[in-house]
Subunit: 206 residues, 2 copies
Amino acid sequence: MRKIAESTVRRLSLYLRLLEEFGGQGKETVSSEVLATRAGTTSAQVRKDLSFFGSFGKRGLGYSVPELTVRLRDILGLKRSYQVLVVGAGKIGSALAQYRGFAERGFRVTAVYDADPGKVGLRWNGLVVRDVRQLEQDLARDHMDIAIVSTPPNAAQEVTDRLVRSGIRAILNFAPVQLVLPRDVAVKNVNMALELETLSYALRHR
Amino acid sequence: MRKIAESTVRRLSLYLRLLEEFGGQGKETVSSEVLATRAGTTSAQVRKDLSFFGSFGKRGLGYSVPELTVRLRDILGLKRSYQVLVVGAGKIGSALAQYRGFAERGFRVTAVYDADPGKVGLRWNGLVVRDVRQLEQDLARDHMDIAIVSTPPNAAQEVTDRLVRSGIRAILNFAPVQLVLPRDVAVKNVNMALELETLSYALRHR
């Protein structure tokens, strides 16, 4: 994974969302100041983030909304779609598998797995929950780009090892464990309690 | 909100999790190197993060696991529990309302609201979905610390305004909109598609 801070990637994602909104309103150009205000950062930060990938703006004119939109989609790898599978059909897994926001950004959840025979065969929005024992067989046949791991904590590492052996190189981990992974596998951990802790910190230090 | 980077708070949360794990294994001390390796950062970063809140470590001995655990729980505002309400009983909202990891960290989801008469009255793990029209009345009676907003995008700002007028000062926002808030309200936005974009970025730039 190239060494660019994840916080930068997150801001680029946010700029892209704002540009899409401005584009939808028919705006042709946008200044770094406007982007900064809406993204909750400084215009110097906006210029720095964007200069990292080559110069975009024209002094006094701002950024071209359509050009910067296309460029950010390219930088973020969003010019193509991604096949996504979910392992773990619990409450979080089922919410994610049916989350509309993914498909809108080109992330297509096309398979869901669980180990529980009571869940295998359930149908969600046209997806049938598959037996996790099929994982290797399915991955040998169908190419998948990203795996979402939403298993119980004690199953997460084993499932991850199987995914990696089957060629998966990007994992979104919702299990509250630190996964051990080869260096060429990208992982993003999402921990819901940790999100709340940034708020308890804020309440504590007001 | 005091000006400390959110990335720092996130690392402090992660250190606390690791310290709790070490404490559970009976370890008395831990070095910044061990914390750094497990947290995926450098020992210089660990020392810097912790020095921000006063000196903890003893040169050559490392940090006292029980002392640092107590101190981090205090810094993160986790010495007390928090009352949490959820507005929006869709798939994400229902998963969050029933998420066990919250209660383990002292975040108690005690009320869930929705505008849909088909959902009001549903019972989840002992919680009954309430009519969102009751919001002001309930908040005048019961103190709440944190609100999770998981409504459809077009309802999020209005619900947020009502929450803020009723005294809520911390919001975890799952709706894919940028909320407009007074400066004294802490907000944390969670965007699932954005998490996937940090992975598509990684896949694109391998």
